[in-house]
């Protein structure tokens, strides 16, 4: 096997700064939005006392799930000892750290009191899964940093397998924690189920692989480091498995809800009568996010690169739809405070499906978060040797997709 040589992302400085400024502009806008939300108060957003978590949470949870998922490539390389993926592993860890930081920043900037971050970092209620997640997230960032070091520094390279295994175990627990933020909410029919944890894990595997593939495609446009056909074919198979697993857990979640008598009304709301939520569930999460990618991946008519590219884009659109259905749809359905009664009148919207129209500020904050993730990746690959010059099996394929 050829020795893997890593190199920096070398592009013309002018091009680098153009990209930097482009992404920086969105980060700046995102920061301004959060500042405005903080200054005026959250009434300027679409969130209210009924829909308390909105678009910032959709972006944040989506990015944190992706952060866990993009580590797939590194995990396959280190934990399962697949040498084929070794050249692509360090980038996978960098992406994980970038998406994690971006997701967390969005979450923090949407807090009612972001200036009290220090309180959240120093005062803990260990019965809260949120408090545990603060440890899981910050711990993950540290583990990823050490893991990257073991992968890139030859002197400590022998430890990369152990660090990779540690990071793999940690990210499974981390995504369990993210799913459990919802799973531990006893009062809402949409949540209150342990199955959300494995569902979130399998979503992370799918979305992470999609993001990873799309990003190496973009980098490859400049570098031409020739991703081997074997890797692309493997990624196509992986995506297929993850799509099936997603469908399985999603079906199980909804069938379980249908089976539980006190959850039926909520379930029928999402599946049949929920208006925008029903539409986004079927059209976005199921059709665009799972069925169409399955058709693309399974069909023999498309080349691996084409199938994977479009499937990945669709998977991410479906993933964002899934966030909408889970986070917003779950809150939109009114709480069942009086199971034996019909609420005729309420001064606090107890008897109606809650509506949510995201404001531009929330949307820009989310876009700013994505730009932050990408700028971290850009700075990382431009200053450190993350990118392989060749990928094994070497030089079999030099075809550019």
């Amino acid at each position: 096997m050829d020795k893997i040589i890593f190199k920096k992302f070398i592009i013309k400085p002018k091009l680098f700064w153009l990209k930097f400024l482009f992404l920086g502009f969105f980060i700046f806008l995102g920061f301004l939005s959060s500042l405005y939300m903080e200054h005026e108060g959250h009434y300027i957003t679409g969130m209210n006392n009924q829909i308390v978590w909105g678009m910032p949470h959709m972006f944040a949870v989506f990015l944190i799930i992706i952060a866990s998922g993009v580590l797939n490539i590194a995990s396959i390389s280190s934990v399962f000892d697949k040498k084929l993926y070794k050249p692509l592993a360090p980038l996978s860890a960098l992406l994980a750290i970038a998406f994690l930081i971006a997701g967390l920043i969005i979450l923090v900037l949407d807090l009612g009191r972001p200036n009290r971050l220090i309180v959240a970092m120093t005062v803990y209620n260990f019965k809260s899964i949120f408090a545990w997640n603060i440890f899981l997230y910050s711990g993950f960032a540290v583990i990823l940093a050490v893991y990257m070091w073991t992968m890139l520094d030859r002197e400590v390279n022998k430890y990369s397998k152990y660090m990779g295994t540690f990071a793999f175990a940690w990210r499974i627990i981390l995504t369990t924690g993210t799913g459990s933020i919802f799973g531990f909410l006893v009062a809402r029919e949409a949540y209150a189920t342990a199955i959300l944890a494995p569902l979130f894990i399998i979503m992370s595997l799918l979305y992470g692989t999609a993001v990873y593939y799309l990003i190496i495609r973009i980098i490859n446009r400049y570098l031409n480091f020739n991703i081997s056909e074997e890797i692309i074919s493997n990624l196509r198979n992986l995506t297929l498995y993850f799509l099936f697993a997603n469908l399985y857990f999603l079906a199980l979640y909804h069938v379980t809800n249908l089976y539980i008598a006190k959850h039926i009304n909520f379930e029928l709301f999402i599946l049949t009568s929920g208006g925008i939520y029903t539409f986004i569930f079927w059209a976005g999460q199921v059709l665009i996010g799972l069925i169409l990618p399955l058709v693309l991946i399974m069909s023999n008519k498309f080349k691996d690169t084409v199938a994977l590219k479009y499937a990945s884009i669709l998977v991410l659109l479906g993933g964002f739809s899934a966030m909408h259905v889970i986070i917003i749809g779950g809150q939109a359905f009114p709480l069942n405070i009086f199971p034996d009664h019909i609420i005729l009148d309420s001064a606090f919207y107890d008897n109606v499906v809650h509506s949510y129209t995201p404001s531009i500020y929330e949307f820009i904050l989310g876009i700013g978060g994505i730009a932050l993730a990408l700028i971290i990746v850009l700075i990382g690959i431009a200053n450190f040797k993350f990118l392989p010059t060749i990928t094994p099996p070497s030089n079999i394929n030099t075809q550019k997709d």
Binding site: L117, Y124, S128, L344, D350
Partner: protein, 246 residues
């Protein structure tokens, strides 16, 4: 010769001590004498505050409890009902089986196993030993996880800058808040909440508040007379607010 216009040493000491007592000692004694709990005494579980609502006595169209809560805690809104704070609200319900229509106030149910406190990352949502569930306005980071967790939609997030705050109920933009059984009143010796007082003044007496540990408290008498029921008993949260007449 003795000059009568001058103070003797004895007079000076007596008058000084009297003045000292009037200023420093007596005010300390008086509140202690009337308060059920001195302010410097820690809250303990010997007192168990609770509330019962007799829905047969609650009158449709009456909002005295809500108005009193607004005045007591300075909950003046911005005419934006979706984001304005509500610590207590009125609901009208129809029983599916009997078709009986009733009206009742909803507020924080002061659970003994409060989901809001379980999920709060910083412990800002907490339950006092005497059963009052409230939010520490200094450590709440405004994550709203407690609002996601509350089965009764009893909590509000302060969505904008506040101007007309009252001193006995400090509130803050970006923090979550909810009914605290008028903790400030209780800690100053009162044994009634603003909503109970208003309900009594209206002559309805639907709301009764008191100490469960005291067999003669109004709330115990009300429950003995007409047993109260907890909402969503299936969740086993052991709320301190019960409803009679369901």
């Amino acid at each position: 010769m003795k000059n009568n216009s001058l103070l003797t040493r004895r007079d000076f000491l007596v008058k000084s001590f009297t003045a000292f007592s009037a200023i420093y000692i007596i005010p300390d004694i008086i509140p202690h004498a009337s308060a059920s709990k001195p302010l410097d005494k820690e809250v303990d579980s010997s007192t168990r505050w609770a509330m019962n609502v007799d829905i047969d006595k609650c009158v449709e169209g009456c909002s005295a409890c809500v108005d009193a809560c607004v005045d007591e805690n300075g909950l003046y809104g911005f005419d934006r009902p979706e984001t304005d704070s509500q610590w207590i609200r009125k609901l009208t319900l129809k029983d599916i089986k009997t078709e009986k229509i009733s009206t009742l106030p909803m507020m924080c149910q002061h659970c003994e196993n409060p989901p809001c406190c379980d999920v709060c990352p910083t412990g800002a949502s907490f339950r006092r030993e005497d059963g009052i569930v409230m939010v520490n306005q200094h450590t709440c980071i405004g994550c709203r996880y407690c609002m996601m967790a509350c089965p009764f939609k009893a909590r509000s997030f302060v969505h904008e800058n506040l101007t007309e705050q009252v001193t006995n109920a400090p509130r803050g933009k970006g923090c979550v808040e909810s009914c605290n059984f008028c903790a400030n009143r209780i800690d100053h010796g009162a044994d009634t909440t603003a909503c109970e007082e208003a309900c009594m003044n209206e002559g309805h007496q639907a709301i009764t508040f008191g100490d469960l540990s005291n067999p003669n408290s109004r709330v115990n008498k009300a429950i003995d007379n007409k047993p109260g029921r907890r909402l969503r008993a299936d969740l086993a949260l052991k709320q301190r607010v019960t409803y009679s007449g369901f």
